[in-house]
C-alpha cells in the first residue's frame, strides 16, 4: 500500500555472496550445505522495551543482529544468513543509513549475509525482527539439556558491564560519565563469540547465551539437564570497568545482569586444554567458574567459603 516504504528496502539490498539468491524474489535461496543440519532463531526488538528511541542507530543495527548471532553461538552453529523485518513510523534516511551500516558490519564480520526481509510503515514505534540461520554437523547441537555431573562450567567474555550501563542510562545510578563510557559498548554493541562457539561441538556438553543474567540462565541449563552447580564467585569474569563498584552492586551486575550475549557452557574436565587452546586461537576470553553437581542446588561461594544467596539476586529456584 505505502509505496514510499519500498525505499527502506534500498538500505538492505547489498549484494549477497555467490550461491545465494537474495532480496527481490518471493523467497531467498541459501546455498547447499551437504551433510549439515539447519538451525534457526528469531528475535524481536521493540522500541521502548528493548531499546530507547534515541539509541545510536548504528549500535541498534549492530545489536539487532548480534543478539541473534548469540543464539547461533549458543548452539555451536556456523552462521549462514539472516532476514530482517523492519517496521518504522517514519522514513529518516540518515537513521536508516546508519542502522543499515551497523547491521551489515555484524553481518560481514560473521559471514551471515542479509538475504531478504520485509519493510513497512507503522503508526506505532520501531519494530525490528531478525531471523538467523546456521548449520551444524547433525546431532552436535549444544543443547541446554546436555550438562553432566562433574562438567566444568565455563563463561566467555566478562560479566556485569551491560547491566551497569543500562542502570546509568535509566538514571537508576548517579550520573557517571567515565563509568558510562567504560560500560556502554558492552550494552550497545555486544560481541557474541560466534566463531569460537562453532568449534565447541564435540567439546562442550551444554551451552546457552547469557541474556537474562548469569544465574538465571545457568538455571535453565540446570533445569533442562536435571543437575545442580557449584560456582566460585571469585572465578567469575567481572568486567574490569565495574570491579571497583560497591560490592553489592558489583555482585548484582555480575550474577543477575542481563544483555551479556556471551556463552555459558559446560564441558568434561578432559577438554580443559582444548577449550583454552581454541580460546587463544579465536582471541576469546574464557573463564572456568564452577562445576556441575548432583541434585538441583545452585550454590555460589567465595574462595574463602562465604556462601552468597542467589535467591536474593534475582535467581528463581525451580
Amino acid at each position: 500500500m505505502v509505496r514510499e516504504f519500498d525505499l527502506i528496502g534500498r538500505y538492505f539490498s547489498r549484494e549477497v555472496p555467490e550461491g545465494y539468491i537474495g532480496a527481490g524474489d518471493d523467497c531467498a535461496v541459501l546455498p547447499e550445505q551437504p551433510g549439515r543440519q539447519w538451525v534457526v532463531s528469531t528475535d524481536a526488538l521493540i522500541e521502548g522495551r528493548h531499546f530507547l528511541s534515541d539509541v545510536d542507530p548504528f549500535a541498534l543495527g549492530h545489536k539487532s543482529l548480534a543478539v541473534n548471532l548469540s543464539d547461533l553461538a549458543a548452539m555451536g552453529a556456523t552462521p549462514a544468513g539472516c532476514v530482517l523485518a523492519l517496521a518504522l513510523p517514519k522514513i529518516d534516511e540518515n537513521w536508516l543509513s546508519k542502522f543499515s551500516d551497523g547491521f551489515y558490519f555484524m553481518a560481514d564480520q560473521h559471514s551471515c549475509p542479509l538475504v531478504g526481509g520485509d519493510t513497512t510503515g507503522t503508526g506505532h514505534g520501531i519494530m525490528i525482527c531478525v531471523t538467523v540461520f546456521g548449520h551444524i554437523t547433525p546431532g552436535t547441537a549444544l543443547l541446554r539439556s546436555g550438562a553432566q555431573y562433574g562438567d566444568d562450567i565455563w563463561i566467555t567474555g566478562s560479566l556485569g558491564a551491560a547491566h551497569i550501563a543500562l542502570k546509568l542510562l535509566q538514571g537508576a545510578l548517579p550520573a557517571n560519565d567515565v563509568l558510562l563510557a567504560d560500560t556502554r559498548a558492552a550494552l550497545e554493541r555486544p560481541r557474541p563469540p560466534v566463531m569460537y562457539a562453532a568449534q565447541l561441538a564435540g567439546l562442550a556438553h551444554a551451552a546457552l547465551d547469557i541474556s537474562d543474567g548469569f544465574l538465571q540462565d545457568l538455571g535453565h541449563i540446570l533445569k533442562a539437564s536435571k543437575c545442580g552447580a557449584h560456582i566460585i564467585f571469585d572465578n567469575l569474569p567481572v568486567d574490569p570497568a565495574i570491579r571497583n563498584l560497591p560490592n553489592e552492586l558489583m555482585q548484582e551486575a555480575v550474577l543477575s545482569g542481563g544483555d551479556v550475549y556471551q556463552l555459558c557452557f559446560t564441558a568434561p574436565q578432559r577438554h580443559r586444554n582444548a577449550i583454552e587452546t581454541l580460546a587463544r586461537q579465536f582471541s576469546t576470553m574464557v573463564s572456568r567458574v564452577g562445576v556441575i553437581t548432583e541434585g538441583n542446588e545452585l550454590v555460589v561461594e567465595t574462595l574463602s567459603g562465604r556462601r552468597l544467596m542467589p535467591s536474593q539476586l534475582g535467581y528463581q529456584h525451580f
Copy 2:
C-alpha cells in the same frame, strides 16, 4: 524483563514432529533434507496497517502463516517449518488461544511446524513477524526472472473477492452483508496453493504470489524477465461473488485488488496438459489468462478486442 509474557509462549509450544528440535533451546533444529536447498521468507503484519484491531484472532493466526506460505508456494518450495515473533500490548488469553488455533490450523495443514519464536510485550500495537523455511531441488526455484517469450500465463484460484471485502470493511463501499459474507473468507483466510506449487518445478518458468494486485505483480515478472504480456480479460478467474458488481468496480478488483495470495506463473505451451492434470490432482483451480510477449508492454484486451487501460487501474509502467 517482563516474565508474565513468558506465558504467551505456552500457546505456541505444541509438540514438533520427529527429527525437529522445537522451542525451549537457543535455536530450533530442522531435520536434514539431503540433496535439497533451503529457501526462506519473512513477513511482518502490523496492527492498523495489515489488519484491523478487531479482526477475528483465528483468522489473523491463519493469515499470518498463509501469507508466508504463499511466498514458499511462489518459489515452488515444500514447507519445512516456521518461527513466530509476537509482540502484544496486553495478555488476552482468549485472543491468544484463538490466534494460536488459527496459526496451528495452517501449520498442520501444510506440514509446516512452528519450531520456535519470541514473545514480548509492547507499549504499541500488535506486531506479528513470521519467518518460513522450505526446501527445493537445487536450481529449480521458480524465480520472477524466468519467463520466456511464448510462455502461457497462468493464475491459480480466483481474483477480486479480497479487494471487495476490504472495501466493505473500510466503509469504502455501501454496506452489503451478503456480499461481505461471500468475499470475507478470501480476505481473511487466504489459501495459497502450496502443495500444487511444490509440483511446478520443471514445468513453470517463472512464478510469484499475487499480493499487491494481479497487474502490478505480473509487472514484476515482466520487469525481471525483460518481456511483455498480452492478457485476455475474459479469461481471468473473476471470483463468482463479485461477477455481478458494476463493471468498473469488478475490473478494478480483478486487475488491481491485493491480498490474493494465489500464484501467477508462466510455463511453456507444451506443459499445458501436465499443469491441468496436476491441478485436478491437487484440487487447485488454474486459469490460462494470456501469453508472454516480446517487448515490455502489458496489454489487457477483452475477447471482443476492446483494450483496457491498465495505467488507469493502478499499474505503474516501468
